[in-house]
């Protein structure tokens, strides 16, 4: 298992990583969620050995990695923007890590074929990486990192530069792949849908600190603070507590009502309602029915006490 202990990194007086401690179990996928500039990439670089922490250490299977250079750590990294070798073709990129271990050519060839099949790029061996689409480059980067069978796989916003549809598809592929190869992985993203979809656990980062680590359900059920709640999309914050949008019950008619609908936004199967209460407060509600109030409708709003989360 992998353990990051009290790691701190400072750049020219700015603290990029602030006393971060994180455990990742064997075969576990931990997603690191946070806005850009929160220190996610720095955390990955510390684990990979590309960045020496000013304090703290990284331990893999009980061994302190401080004196182990990146190329001996057995940790794979999928870079943001991929960082592919443009001077080599697709097979050359995937084979690279295997060649570094001086594996026999036949074994390398087999492994490259398997890897390309795994990421759905069979037959791409001789293509120049510069001619590939963004999604294809992404898959090559993944195959390249997986090929040597790394002890831990790190992924730095691997889907960041791709379009939404491609991202959704690759997200499914990745989830399937993680399950298939049983790899221990840390996946960095600023997109909570990705983080919650892929992670066995989610680690939330902000300004270099780990704010909360837990299963997606646990984080969703009990965000660590108001800012995180807000970041997760829980915008109904009042008096140190959060009201989940699904616990805000909205009915049309039924007396005079106590608020007016400002907006109704369909998001897939649900509709998000923004309601302005007569008390001056604004609440968001989630409605799953096909029929829903329209903006301007006067509604009555109740709150299910079970959906109130006290913030620590």
């Amino acid at each position: 298992m992998l353990r990051v202990e009290h790691s701190t990194v400072r750049f020219d007086g700015r603290t990029a990583l602030d006393d971060v401690t994180l455990d990742v179990g064997d075969g576990e996928v931990v997603t690191v969620l946070g806005p850009s500039g929160s220190g996610k990439t720095t955390l990955l670089r510390v684990i990979a050995g590309l960045q020496r922490p000013d304090q703290g250490r990284v331990v893999l299977d009980g061994r302190d990695l401080a004196s182990v250079p990146p190329h001996r750590r057995g940790i794979g990294l999928v870079f943001q923007d991929h960082a592919l070798f443009h001077h080599r073709d697709v097979a050359g990129n995937v084979a690279f890590g295997l060649r570094m271990r001086n594996e026999p050519a036949a074994a390398i060839g087999r492994r490259v074929r398997d890897m390309l099949e795994l990421v759905g790029l069979s037959g791409f061996e001789d293509r120049s990486v510069a001619t590939l689409s963004g999604g294809e480059q992404q898959r090559v980067a993944l195959a390249r990192a997986l090929a040597p069978g790394p002890r831990v796989l790190l992924l730095d916003e691997p889907l960041g530069s791709l379009d939404r549809r491609l991202r959704d598809r690759l997200l499914d592929d990745l989830a399937r792949l993680f399950a298939e190869v049983q790899v221990t992985a840390i996946y960095v993203t600023h997109d909570q849908a990705e983080a919650f979809a892929l992670g066995d656990r989610v680690a939330v980062m902000r300004t270099g600190r780990l704010v909360q680590v837990g299963t997606p359900d646990a984080i969703w059920a009990q965000p660590a603070d108001a800012d995180l709640a807000h970041f997760l999309g829980l915008r109904n914050v009042r008096d140190g507590s959060v009201v989940r949008p699904e616990a805000v019950l909205v009915r049309v008619g039924g007396g005079d009502g106590n608020g007016v609908v400002l907006a109704a936004i369909r998001q897939g199967p649900t509709v998000r309602l923004v309601v302005s209460l007569d008390s001056g407060e604004t609440l968001e509600a989630l409605v799953t029915s096909l029929e829903h109030p329209e903006p301007g409708d006067r509604v009555s709003v109740e709150i299910d006490p079970a959906g109130i989360v006290e913030l620590p």
Partner: protein, 538 residues
């Protein structure tokens, strides 16, 4: 590439990009050189061209010329590499000063440097091929450090890091990732160093001693001493052929090695050395280079101070007084040098820049030929070209023999290949998608050029301008032929002092060499500075 764009402006673009440099080269290089070779081959007396070609002496000279040039290039790259690495990877205080300082040896007159080397080399090393190679490395280190260092500073470091996470140790990362990515810049720099070493003159004569001869020294010998113009012409053709072959090979190699789409801004790449190991690497690389370049330069400074049995500033004081050695004061020579260098830089950057844009946009064989043609002046015999100027531009309306602007034109001929070699790899590395993106955002072709190519090329153009300036400051072979005596440049003035007996004259020559060093360092530093401030690269 131009298919979807306004065809007329694309054609006009090409016409300028190819036309101006070709016209310049044809008029100021091909024309005079062809004229002198024609005259030489047609002249009677001496041996027949064939017997010169097949002479065993010729073969021996050719063999030495080639191998010493190859070995000099290898040694130069070896010596320059650590510093290029540091400049390409680390931000440190005085970084631009280091870039300016390495240029200093490059501009010093060969005679002065050769004499400085005689002062510091151990007795056993003073004569022979080893001294030649060391001096060539000393001169040309700047080429590799600057060309490769600049390119390196724009390579995405994460590509090498990706290799590290895949299990590649430092050596394999270097060999399998960094080196292939650096290859275009490396081959550019190597081509220039090769050509300079191939046509080396003063170094070979002094440090090689009389037993060593290159094609260049032999051409000079035949043309000036033996006055066998025919043999000189034949040897010139041999030299040009070799140079053309070398040039074609490199331009071809360069086009093949070009890798698009992975250049980043220097600001994203460079970082401070953090660990003790990194700091040690920076210090050791720069320190080693400082020692290698500094010792001969220190010897020069020492000799400029050695007057009257002790060390003092007498030579520097004497520089301010009118001297019998020159028709101008030494300080006027400084001013002349700066004026000529400015002119040569403008010509070289305009002509070479246009050519670079044309070359980078195509990889057809005709473009490669064009590219190679522009390199040829680096490998042509200075003395033959000088004679060519004299017999070609001798009648109205082209009687330019004593026109003052012929000096910067001749200097620009040598500087243009630098501009091309430095700018082309950078342009080739521009991601085509950036151009496409700009076009899709509504930019017509010339606008794409101005918004994408030009800003990206500016940095390289500035480096090239710095080089062109330095080359012009240091150029001697053609300048001594063409400069008017009342307007001597610094190297010419140094040479005049060196040719006179007496301690003070020698010290004044060395003092002027020190002045040349300072002028070079400061002006290269400033040329590069102006760009950063005014043009706001990235």
């Amino acid at each position: 590439m131009d298919r979807h764009r306004d065809p007329l402006s694309a054609r006009a673009w090409r016409a300028v990009g190819y036309g101006v440099p070709l016209a310049f080269l044809a008029f100021f290089f091909v024309f005079p050189l062809a004229e002198i070779v024609r005259r030489g081959l047609g002249s009677g007396g001496g041996e027949s061209p064939w017997s010169v070609l097949t002479d065993s002496d010729t073969r021996q000279v050719l063999w030495f010329t080639v191998w010493q040039a190859v070995a000099s290039t290898a040694l130069t790259i070896l010596v320059a590499f650590p510093a290029a690495y540091v400049l390409g990877r680390y931000e440190f205080p005085g970084r631009s000063a280091v870039r300016a300082l390495v240029t200093v040896p490059f501009v010093l007159p060969t005679v002065v440097v050769a004499l400085a080397f005689l002062a510091i080399l151990p007795q056993g090393l003073q004569r022979g091929w080893a001294a030649i190679l060391i001096a060539h490395a000393f001169f040309n280190v700047a080429v590799v450090v600057r060309v490769v260092g600049t390119f390196w500073a724009r390579l995405d470091p994460r590509v090498s890091e990706a290799a590290a996470t895949l299990g590649a140790g430092p050596w394999r990362r270097f060999r399998e990732v960094t080196l292939p990515l650096l290859a275009p810049a490396l081959s550019s720099a190597a081509a220039i160093v090769f050509l300079f070493s191939f046509t080396s003159f003063g170094i070979v004569l002094i440090l090689g001693g009389p037993a060593y001869a290159t094609l260049e020294t032999e051409i000079y010998n035949q043309a000036v001493r033996v006055f066998d113009l025919r043999a000189a012409a034949v040897l010139s053709l041999v030299q040009l052929t070799c140079v053309a072959l070398a040039v074609l090979a490199t331009t071809r190699l360069e086009a093949r090695l070009a890798i698009r789409g992975q250049l980043r801004s220097e600001r994203d790449v460079l970082r401070r050395a953090r660990t003790r190991g990194e700091k040690l690497v920076v210090l050791a690389s720069l320190g080693g280079l400082a020692l290698f370049l500094g010792l001969p330069l220190a010897a020069l400074v020492e000799r400029s101070l050695a007057v009257g049995g002790g060390h003092n500033l007498a030579a520097y004081r004497a520089l301010t007084e009118p001297t019998a050695a020159l028709l101008a004061t030494p300080w006027e020579a400084v001013l002349n040098s700066l004026v000529y260098a400015t002119g040569a830089t403008v010509i070289a950057v305009v002509v070479g820049g246009l050519a670079a844009f044309a070359i980078a946009r195509s990889s057809r064989w005709s473009t490669r030929l064009f590219d190679g043609l522009l390199m040829l002046p680096l490998g042509a015999s200075a003395v033959m070209l000088g004679f060519g100027f004299v017999i070609t531009f001798d009648r109205a309306p082209v009687d330019f023999r004593s026109a003052p602007w012929i000096v910067p034109v001749a200097q620009a001929l040598v500087a243009i290949p630098f501009v091309v070699r430095i700018v082309v790899p950078t342009l080739r590395a521009i991601d085509e998608r950036q151009r496409e993106a700009a076009a899709l955002l509504g930019a017509p072709p010339r606008r794409v050029w101005r918004e994408i190519d030009l800003p990206i090329a500016l940095r390289a153009l500035a480096v090239a301008a710095g080089f062109a300036f330095a080359i012009s400051l240091g150029e001697f072979g053609a300048t001594v032929f063409l400069a008017r005596p009342d307007r001597p440049t610094l190297p010419v003035a140094i040479f005049r002092f060196l040719g006179r007996p007496g301690e003070l004259n020698a010290a004044e020559a060395y003092a002027l060499a020190v002045v040349l060093m300072v002028v070079t360092a400061v002006s290269v530093f400033l040329v590069e500075r102006i760009r950063v401030r005014r043009l706001g690269w990235f």
